[in-house]
C-alpha cells in the first residue's frame, strides 16, 4: 500500500502548521461590510498576500479527523517556521491529546507488531474507529462503553467509575426505541438506573456553519431538517428573526396562513408523539392511528406547500403559496371530523389502565428544576409554569386569537402527555378562528431580490410543539448571515434526562425519554 506523499501535487506540504495571527485576521469575512458603529464585525481587511510556500496561514491545526487520506506521519508542528508569532492552538482542557493525532495509514499484512507499537505510541482513537480492534487486549474491553481516553471532566470521571454491583448498559445509537440516534450510557444497579450519560452529536450536520455561507433564502431550506417532524416552526423562527433584522412587515393574510399551517403541523406532531409514546411502552396500535391522523394533515399541507415533510414554505415577508381549493376542501373535510378523531385517539391511551399506571408518577420534573434546566414548551407547562411564547411574547397574529394555555402541576410523564392532548384541542380552536377570520390580501411583502440587511442583531422565538424554538441572527451587511444561532428546545428537554432517569427502572427509561419528545435532528443541529 503506497504511503501518502508528504508534498502534494502543488508542492505544498500537507502537514498542518500552526496558525499565525495574520492568517487569523485574514480569515474573517472578506466581504465589504458597512463600518457602522454598531457593527461588531471585523472590517474587511486587505487580503493578505498569497502565502509563501511552506506557510499555511489561516489554517487550523487539523482538518477533519476522519480524513483517511491524512498524511502518513504524525504531523510535526515544526514545519517550516511561520514568521509571525505562532499563536498557540485554542485552549483545550488538560487531558486532550496533542494537536497532531493522526491515525496514519495502517499497512495491513506487514508487521502487526510494528503497527501495534505505533498505535500504542499514539493517543488512543475513539471507540468508534474500527482500527481499535488491533490494539484490543481482551474481549471484555470491546463491550464496555467506557471511553478509551482518559476521562476529561469531573462529571465524566464521576460517571465512569463503577460502584459495587453496578454495570454499564449502552443504549446505543442504534436502538429500536431511542427516537433517533441518541446514545444513553446507563449505569445500572440490577434493573434500576443509577446514572445516565447521554451522548449526542450523531446527527450533527453543521447547519449553523452552512447557514453562514448561505443566502438568507437558503437558510430556510437548511433549517427545515432540524426538527423534521414539525419543520414549519424552525422556518418561522428563522423568518421571524430575519424580518426583525430587515424591518419587514408581513401582510396579515400571510400571518394567518402561517398560523393556520403551523397549528395544523402542531397537531400532526402531537399525534405522532402520542403514537411513539405508546409504542415505547409496548402498544403497537396507537402509532398507526397517529400516523393516519398525521397523514391527513400532511397531505393537506402538501397540497399548499408542495412537500409532505420538509416544507420550505415560509419566506421572509410571507409565505410561498396561497391557499388553494384542494387545501380548503381537505381542511374542511378534516375539521368536520377532527375533534372526534383526536378525542378517540387520545382516549385510546387515556383510558388504558396499563398505560396510565406506567406513566403516572414516573419521571417527575418539578417546577424549580424545570426552570433551572431551561426546559420550555409542554414539558415546562406540565411542571406548573405557564410559559408559552405565544402568550408571553406574542408574535404574528396570536394576540388576536383566543386560546388557553393548558398547565398541569404534576410534572410526570402522564402530565406531559395530557398537556399535549389539551394542546391539540387548543390548536383546533385556533385553526377554526383562523379560518373564520382569514383576511384577503397579498401573501408576500415586497422585498428586493437580493437581501442585504443592515448590520445588526436580532433574536426571534416561536412556540414549537416541543418548546421554544429561537434564532439569534447577526448580520454584517452582506447577503449571508454572519452568525446564525439556532436554539432548539429538544436539546434542553433531553438535558433533563440525567436528572429524571436515576431511581427509575430500565423499563421507564424509554417511557421518560419518549415523554419528553426529543427530536434528534434538532438536538444535534
Amino acid at each position: 500500500m503506497p504511503t501518502q506523499p508528504t508534498d502534494d501535487e502543488h508542492g505544498q506540504p500537507t502537514e498542518p502548521v500552526s496558525r499565525s495571527a495574520a492568517g487569523v485576521r485574514a480569515g474573517a469575512h472578506a466581504r465589504g461590510g458597512q463600518p457602522e458603529a454598531a457593527a461588531e464585525v471585523a472590517p474587511s481587511p486587505s487580503p493578505s498576500p498569497p502565502a509563501p510556500a511552506g506557510m499555511r496561514t489561516g489554517a487550523h491545526a487539523r482538518g477533519s479527523q476522519r480524513d483517511i487520506a491524512a498524511p502518513a506521519e504524525p504531523a510535526a508542528p515544526a514545519a517550516p517556521a511561520a514568521p509571525a508569532a505562532a499563536t498557540t492552538a485554542p485552549p483545550a482542557p488538560a487531558s486532550s491529546g496533542p494537536a497532531a493525532s493522526s491515525f496514519g495509514s495502517v499497512q495491513h499484512g506487514h508487521d502487526p507488531e510494528a503497527v501495534r507499537a505505533r498505535l500504542a505510541a499514539m493517543p488512543r482513537p475513539s471507540a468508534d474507529d474500527p482500527r481499535v480492534l488491533l490494539d484490543r487486549t481482551s474481549d471484555a474491553d470491546l463491550f464496555e462503553p467506557i471511553p478509551p481516553y482518559p476521562t476529561r471532566t469531573e462529571r465524566e470521571a464521576e460517571f465512569y467509575s463503577l460502584g459495587d454491583g453496578e454495570m454499564f448498559l449502552n443504549v446505543g445509537p442504534q436502538h429500536p426505541a431511542t427516537h433517533g440516534v441518541l446514545r444513553l450510557v446507563l449505569k445500572l444497579s440490577g434493573e434500576q438506573v443509577v446514572d445516565v450519560d447521554p451522548v449526542i452529536g450523531y446527527l450533527h450536520r453543521g447547519v449553523e456553519k452552512i447557514c453562514e455561507n448561505s443566502d438568507y433564502y437558503h437558510v430556510i431550506d437548511q433549517v427545515d431538517p432540524l426538527e423534521y417532524i414539525s419543520s414549519l416552526f424552525q422556518e418561522w423562527a428563522a423568518v421571524l428573526t430575519f424580518e426583525k433584522l430587515m424591518d419587514v412587515q408581513v401582510p396579515r393574510r400571510a400571518e394567518y396562513i402561517r398560523v393556520l399551517t403551523s397549528e395544523l403541523l402542531r397537531i400532526a406532531s402531537h399525534s405522532l408523539y402520542m403514537g411513539f409514546l405508546a409504542l415505547d411502552l409496548g402498544g403497537i396500535t396507537p402509532i398507526l392511528y397517529g400516523f393516519i391522523e398525521r397523514d391527513e394533515i400532511v397531505e393537506m399541507l402538501a397540497s399548499v406547500t408542495g412537500a409532505r415533510m420538509l416544507f420550505n414554505y415560509f419566506r421572509i415577508g410571507g409565505v410561498n403559496g396561497d391557499l388553494n381549493h384542494e387545501f380548503m376542501s381537505r381542511l374542511g373535510d378534516w375539521m368536520s371530523r377532527a375533534a372526534k378523531e383526536t378525542e378517540a385517539n387520545a382516549t385510546l391511551l387515556n383510558e388504558n389502565e396499563i398505560f396510565v399506571r406506567r406513566a403516572r408518577g414516573v419521571g417527575v420534573l418539578d417546577r424549580e428544576t424545570a426552570l433551572r434546566m431551561g426546559v420550555t414548551g409542554g414539558n415546562l407547562r406540565a411542571s406548573g409554569v405557564a410559559f408559552d411564547v405565544r402568550r408571553a411574547h406574542p408574535y404574528s397574529v396570536y394576540p388576536e386569537l383566543q386560546f388557553n394555555v393548558p398547565t398541569r402541576d404534576e410534572g410526570d410523564s402522564l402530565a406531559r402527555y395530557l398537556i399535549r392532548v389539551d394542546e391539540v384541542r387548543e390548536s383546533i380552536r385556533i385553526i377554526d378562528q383562523c379560518l373564520h377570520n382569514m383576511p384577503d390580501g397579498p401573501i408576500m411583502a415586497k422585498l428586493p431580490r437580493l437581501l442585504r440587511p443592515r448590520p445588526g442583531r436580532a433574536w426571534g422565538a416561536v412556540e414549537g410543539p416541543r418548546g421554544m424554538m429561537g434564532v439569534y441572527a447577526i448580520s454584517d451587511g452582506s447577503d449571508q448571515p454572519f452568525r446564525f444561532r439556532i436554539h432548539d428546545p429538544s436539546l434542553l428537554n433531553l438535558e433533563t434526562v440525567p436528572l429524571l432517569l436515576p431511581g427509575n427502572l430500565l423499563a421507564d427509561t424509554m417511557a421518560i425519554v419518549s415523554s419528553l419528545d426529543p427530536v434528534m435532528g434538532g438536538v444535534d443541529k
Partner: protein, 447 residues
C-alpha cells in the same frame, strides 16, 4: 468444455432441478422397492409385536410434525389480525391473501447465516433454543384433541404438563446467560422471574379443576365435562378461569406481559444475539406455547372436545358401502376432474381474463381440492366422533389464540415490578382463595 458442462450451462433452473431429481428419484425408488421386498416382512412382524412402541413413535412424530404448521398458522393469524386492528392490511402478496407468509418466514430463517457471536458459551448457546422448543412441544403429548386422539393418557397429565411447561424458563435463562450481552442477561433474568412467579397462580387455579374432576388425567378431566355445556368447569370455577388466563399470558410471554422480549427497552431480550434458525426455534416455540396454553384452557375449563350443543337430528352414514375400492377411486378421480373444471370456469368468469390458462387450471384444482376436503371433512364429521371432537377442540383453541392475539394488538406492556407485584400480591391470594372455596364446596356437597 465438455458436452456435459456446456449442456449444463445452457439449462434453465427448472431443467437443472429435474435433471438432478429425476435420476435420483428413480434410483431411490428402486432401492426402496428392494428394501421392502427383502426386509418388509420381518419388519412388519416386529411392529405388530410391539404395538405400544409403534403408537408412541407415531404419536411423537405426529406431534412434532404438527407443531410447525400450527406455528405457521398462528403466526399468519397474528400478522393479519393485528394488521386489521391497526387499520391496515397485513401480508397480502406472497400467497392468496398472503397465506404463504409464514412459509416464507420459515425459509428465510433457514437461509440465514448460522453464527455465534464472540464470547458466547457455545454449547449452552446452541442448546437454549432446543430446550425452549422441546419444553413447549413435549406438552402436546398429553393434550386430548379428540376422543381417543391423544399422545398418552398419563394419569398425572396435568402435573406433567406444568412440569414440562416450566422447562421453558431453563431455556430462556440459558439463552440469556450464554449470550455475551447485557441485554440478553436482563431479558433472561426478567423472564425467569416472570415465569416462575406466574407458575404458582397457574398451577393453583388448575388444582381447583383437578379437585372437581377427581383426577389429573387430562382425558378424564374432559370426560368429566362431557354431558351438557353447563358441565364445563368454567361455570363452576369462574375465578380460576380468569386467574388461569392471566397467568397463562404471562407464562407464554405474550403481551401485556412480554417484557422478556420488550423490543423498545432491551432490543430483543434473551434473543438479541440469536439469528437464523436458532431464532426461528424461539419464534416457533413462542407460538406453539400460545397454542398449548389455549389448548390447556380449553381442556381444563371449556370442555375440551365436547360439543356445546348436540346435533338436533339423528344421522348416520352407514349406508355408504366402501367395499368396492375401485369404484371409490374412480368416483374420487372423476370428482376431482369435474370439480377442477367447474372451479376453473368460475375463476375465469369471476376473475376476468387476468389469469392464463395454466393459472386458471391450477387455481381450479386448488379450489376443487378445498371443496373436496371440505366434503370429506363434513362426511367425517358426521360419521366419526373423533372428527367432531377435533373440530370443536380446534375451534375453541383457536378462539383463545385469537384472544391472545387481540391482547397483543391492544395493550401496552406492564413494567416488571408491576408485573411481579401483581402476581404475588393479587393472583396468588386469589388462587388460594379459589382453591379453598372449591375444596370446601366439594367436601360439603359430597356429604
Amino acid at each position: 468444455m465438455s458436452f456435459a458442462t456446456r449442456t449444463w450451462t445452457r439449462m434453465s433452473i427448472p431443467a437443472r432441478l429435474l435433471a438432478i431429481f429425476i435420476p435420483l428419484a428413480v434410483v431411490l425408488a428402486i432401492a426402496t422397492v428392494l428394501v421392502i421386498v427383502v426386509l418388509g416382512g420381518p419388519f412388519v412382524d416386529f411392529l405388530a409385536a410391539n404395538l405400544p412402541l409403534v403408537r408412541f413413535f407415531v404419536t411423537a412424530t405426529a406431534v412434532l410434525l404438527m407443531t410447525v404448521p400450527t406455528a405457521f398458522v398462528i403466526i399468519y393469524l397474528e400478522l393479519k389480525v393485528i394488521a386489521r386492528m391497526n387499520l391496515r392490511i397485513g401480508p397480502n402478496r406472497v400467497g392468496p391473501w398472503g397465506a404463504a407468509m409464514s412459509v416464507i418466514h420459515g425459509l428465510k430463517v433457514l437461509s440465514k447465516e448460522d453464527f455465534a457471536p464472540t464470547g458466547v458459551d457455545l454449547p449452552v448457546f446452541t442448546l437454549a433454543p432446543v430446550v425452549t422448543y422441546l419444553a413447549s412441544v413435549m406438552t402436546l403429548l398429553v393434550i386430548p384433541f379428540a376422543p381417543g386422539l391423544f399422545g398418552q393418557d398419563l394419569n398425572i397429565g396435568v402435573l406433567y404438563f406444568f412440569a414440562m411447561g416450566g422447562l421453558t424458563v431453563v431455556g430462556l435463562l440459558m439463552a440469556g446467560w450464554s449470550s455475551f450481552n447485557k441485554y440478553s442477561l436482563l431479558g433472561g433474568l426478567r423472564s425467569a422471574a416472570q415465569i416462575v412467579s406466574y407458575e404458582i397462580p397457574l398451577t393453583l387455579s388448575a388444582v381447583g379443576v383437578v379437585v372437581l374432576a377427581g383426577t389429573m388425567s387430562m382425558n378424564h378431566i374432559v370426560l368429566a365435562q362431557s354431558g351438557s355445556v353447563f358441565d364445563w368447569f368454567v361455570f363452576k370455577q369462574p375465578l380460576a378461569v380468569i386467574i388461569f388466563f392471566i397467568a397463562a399470558t404471562a407464562e407464554a410471554n405474550r403481551a401485556p406481559f412480554d417484557l422478556t422480549e420488550a423490543d423498545s427497552e432491551i432490543v430483543a431480550g434473551f434473543g438479541t444475539e440469536y439469528s437464523g434458525m436458532r431464532f426461528g426455534f424461539f419464534y416457533f416455540a413462542e407460538y406453539v406455547n400460545v397454542f398449548i396454553v389455549s389448548a390447556l384452557i380449553t381442556t381444563l375449563f371449556f370442555g375440551g372436545w365436547t360439543a356445546p350443543f348436540n346435533w338436533p337430528w339423528a344421522y348416520n352414514l352407514n349406508w355408504l358401502d366402501f367395499s368396492n375400492g375401485t369404484l371409490w377411486v374412480g368416483i374420487a378421480f372423476v370428482a376431482l376432474v369435474v370439480g377442477t373444471d367447474v372451479m376453473a370456469v368460475l375463476v375465469r368468469l369471476l376473475g376476468g381474463s387476468t389469469w392464463s390458462l395454466p393459472g386458471t387450471m391450477i387455481l381450479g384444482f386448488a379450489f376443487a381440492t378445498v371443496v373436496a376436503v371440505g366434503v370429506v371433512g363434513l362426511a367425517g364429521f358426521i360419521a366419526f366422533d373423533w372428527v367432531q371432537g377435533l373440530f370443536w377442540f380446534m375451534a375453541k383453541t383457536y378462539a383463545f389464540v385469537f384472544v391472545f392475539v387481540w391482547l397483543r394488538a391492544t395493550l401496552p406492556r406492564v413494567r416488571v415490578d408491576q408485573l411481579m407485584g401483581f402476581a404475588w400480591k393479587w393472583l396468588l391470594p386469589a388462587s388460594l382463595l379459589n382453591l379453598f372455596v372449591t375444596a370446601t364446596a366439594v367436601v360439603l356437597l359430597s356429604r
